[in-house]
Amino acid sequence: MKKDKVKTLILILLVANSIFLTTQIWMDKKLWSADYNFFAKWGENSIVQAITKKLSWVVRNGEAGASFVNQTYYPQKVVVNYGNFRAAYVNGDELYTQSLDEFSRALKALLREDQVVRYQKIEAEDAWLNILKLKSIYIDLKVPYKTKFIGQFLGIKNTPLSNYIKEIKEFILVPGDSASNDVTFYIKDFNDGSVAKFDVTYDRTQLMNLLNREIPASTVDHKFSFELEFDKKKANKIVLDSQVLLPFNKQKAEVIKSTNPIQDDHNVKNILRAFKYSTNNPRKYIETDNTLVYIENYSTLKIHPDGLIEYDAIEEGKGLRLYSDSYGNDPATPSFQESLNMAVKLINKIQDTTGKLHLSSVAEDPDKPGSYKFVFNYYHNGLPITMNLISDDKDILSLKYAVKVEVVNGTLKSYRHYVRDYESIKPITVDMPVPNVLDAIYKIANANAPYINVKDLHLSYEEDGQEEILQPQWHVRLKGVDNLLMIPVDKK
């Protein structure tokens, strides 16, 4: 009996070992000379290629509906005016998703390719501000987008709205007149500042429910500066732009911790795989500051010890191919939406950024269709994190963004990513009345000018690459000043 057990054990070990050795030989590329690979040879075979092509189509279609959700172009805030109370919801609030969904549905109805556009130009100067006083949903994208791109975000390839307005940054959605069941969009043309009114046939029951609901007690009320007449010069020394949104209650925020998640070889291998570099790459350099440099596939990849990843294709067009399918035919020129999705997919291979990263700007090269430069920044529980990394090394310019991806016709041209994880460590209440913030601004910025013009004011965090613990601060953009002014928060 005992002998039998021993035999069984030996047999199991031998079987396991032979499986192990077999996989080592098959998977270990370095055991085969560069010219020969058992599977590569089979891959070249035309029958095999035909079969795998069919399979990849199936996989791709399945993938289309899969878990990948690009949220980076969602607006940072959705401002809902309930008539007498104005709430500003951020990604993570339950009402953010509801209001954004409702807004997107209505916008999709407006942008539909088969939609007959009912357009009217609004001449009155104060019209925009007056409409903001009504029950509405207001969205400021912070950066202008081509109308065509906005359509693509919603799955509409070409929208007739592009004929009326080329670039949009702000929208207001209001219920239409009481007679019809329509809704109305007021959209500001970013190029000339003119306001256009678009009526859309749309079932507005849900919208009305949303605007008439009971507001939870903890919601923070906001007012635009023009409603308080803070955009006018009277006895005040600070003038705010009309649409600066000011909070009027105590706000909940958090103290957060910033960490560099790239800590060990495992993370580095992950990054190499994301850029399709071999993990046992012979061409590996270590710089004097311990930056890892890899050279492969017509590109250079640098991983700095502080968490900065830099990739540059040596020649444009020869960089990493970002298409997900390797056997299918490449579409002629990937669309804006496709290029953005490719960029976000790559970012997520390096770091899971769902809900943490927002698209800050898009630049398209007008002379080179299919060339895009996407810039992203981190957000934590709705508050933006401003990058302010100043480097001693003149080769690394001050980093004012978290991620920058340059895509040319579906291939990667350059990639910069300052990898950071943020976690909440302590909740705090920000109880700093707006006038106190404004007083602090004036004291710090006190120039010899008769007055100061504030263009933007919001709660934010500053990442300078040095501090591990980040406190929320007021970030202020002043007219004529390049750098953001940062005011610490009085907190309890």
């Binding site: 007498n84 429910n209 009277k234 009345p433």
Partner: protein, 163 residues
Amino acid sequence: MFKRLLQIFIITFILSIPAVVMAAPDEMSTDDKGNATDLIILNNAVDEEITTFEENYILSGSGQEGVAVTLYVYNSESDKYQKVFITEEDIKKPVEWEIGASGLFAQQVDLKKGKNAFALRAELDEETYQVIKIDIKRQNKDFITKIKDLKIGIGNVLDTLMK
């Protein structure tokens, strides 16, 4: 025992000092118009009565740095404007603020149902002060609006049940 009382008295006295820094009186007569007109500018409409459905309202404006502003509300019983007090962390405090370097102020005030006759007393120093009056009427949401809201509320409930 006596020592104890003395300690309590001293502590109370010390704690009350901040409240005494503002020299504004607890009451103001209705015809007190002040002796200055340029200390603060109130952005809210002062010539006509403001009506709102809301429970609170924001008084905003601008003024000289260092001017102390105190909020008063009319009391029909005494026929005088009296300081408004709010209770924060078990301490009763008057609603007052000082205009800072920016020159701007914005203060949220609570409204009771019906008429709220407010007065702002702005003081630059012991002798110079300005009085601005503002009336705000808090209306109940009218019956029709209430029914409308109720209808929508029921609709919501039915929708959820139907899903």
